[in-house]
Symmetry: C2
């Protein structure tokens, strides 16, 4: 990032991003305003507008921020590929170590609203594409590692990563949009079967 | 359905449902109004309001209508279980015989918007739950049939149906919210592998 006048100092950025996160959880996407985001910080609305011209620009920064530490957040270093894959799936489905499942579901409830606007807003669509590509690449890299180490079958990493991500995402949306609370556990089990039978070398 | 005063005559219902479908494709969910729906028919807004008190009530009827002939629409009768499953997947992913893929994507673009409101609107959440249960039951029934006929492995039909539906739904949402046009084809292939390796008896 260049050091231009408009660059957001790291501490300010972190505070604003945390405020977007909290405001999305609290109000959802449709009712989100710059004012509500500002109220989650000790800054005024004008300060936030100074760094981010529009709500859309701010949300695109937020999507970028969300995925920026995805690999660190989900992938256990110094673990074998199967353990890496399982820890990633658990975190993607149930939330990270410091995130309750309710918080995880809350934020995805707002994100699915935001994502549903992607077809109408090109910049959101582009950022969504980058985010999902990044996540699928992390998954595919673990699969490649497993193949290289001879513990996974000679599958197509990108195709398997796409299948895993799609089923995860579908299950998450089912959990959010229906009253079937067991949706996540059911898919976690089905993914275990899929990986054991289809990816792992027996 | 009881023959009360408010029952919608079949022909009128068909016309209104078709109008909701066309209006959702054209305007999406956020910009949908009763007026815009009425303009897609030869009826006035008051007539539609006479049958459906609110836009939400109308949309719930529409969701119910969409899934009402799902089995007839997707399942080829007098076919073997594998053929039935494959024809269902093709139709769910790429649209029916009389529906272009663009039309199919258009309507799902609006449906994902509508579904993203389910967590905030209990009746929409309940109808969404019914619709998805119905679709998964149709898939699970085909799997049971295959197990009974000895052509499918002794898998858990509900779990497999959940995995198939989640991956289909995830792929559809990826196709709609990102610019990755090949998302549907990639998951169709991955599902073929899944069914061949995991469901079909070899």
């Amino acid at each position: 990032m260049s050091l231009d006048d408009n660059e957001v100092p790291e501490e300010t950025q972190e505070e604003i991003m945390r405020a977007v996160y909290d405001a999305l959880r609290e109000y959802g996407y449709a009712d989100l305003t710059m004012q509500k985001i500002a109220e989650m910080t000790d800054k005024c609305k004008a300060t936030i507008h100074y760094h981010y011209n529009t709500k859309e620009e701010l949300l695109i920064s937020f999507l970028d921020y969300l995925v920026s530490n995805f690999r660190d957040w989900t992938v256990k270093e110094n673990a074998d590929p199967l353990e890496k894959l399982n820890s990633l799936l658990d975190k993607m489905i149930f939330g990270g170590t410091n995130t309750s499942i309710e918080e995880h579901i809350d934020i995805h409830r707002a994100l699915i609203e935001l994502r549903s606007q992607a077809p109408y807003k090109e910049e959101i669509q582009e950022q969504t594409t980058r985010n999902e590509k990044h996540i699928r690449t992390v998954i595919a890299d673990i699969i490649k590692e497993g193949i290289d180490q001879g513990v996974f079958r000679d599958v197509e990493p990108e195709k398997i990563a796409a299948m895993i991500f799609a089923s995860l995402d579908g299950a998450r949306i089912r959990r959010i949009t229906t009253n079937e609370d067991f949706a996540l556990e059911q898919i976690r089990e089905a993914l275990d079967d899929y990986i054991n039978e289809f990816v792992l070398k027996n």
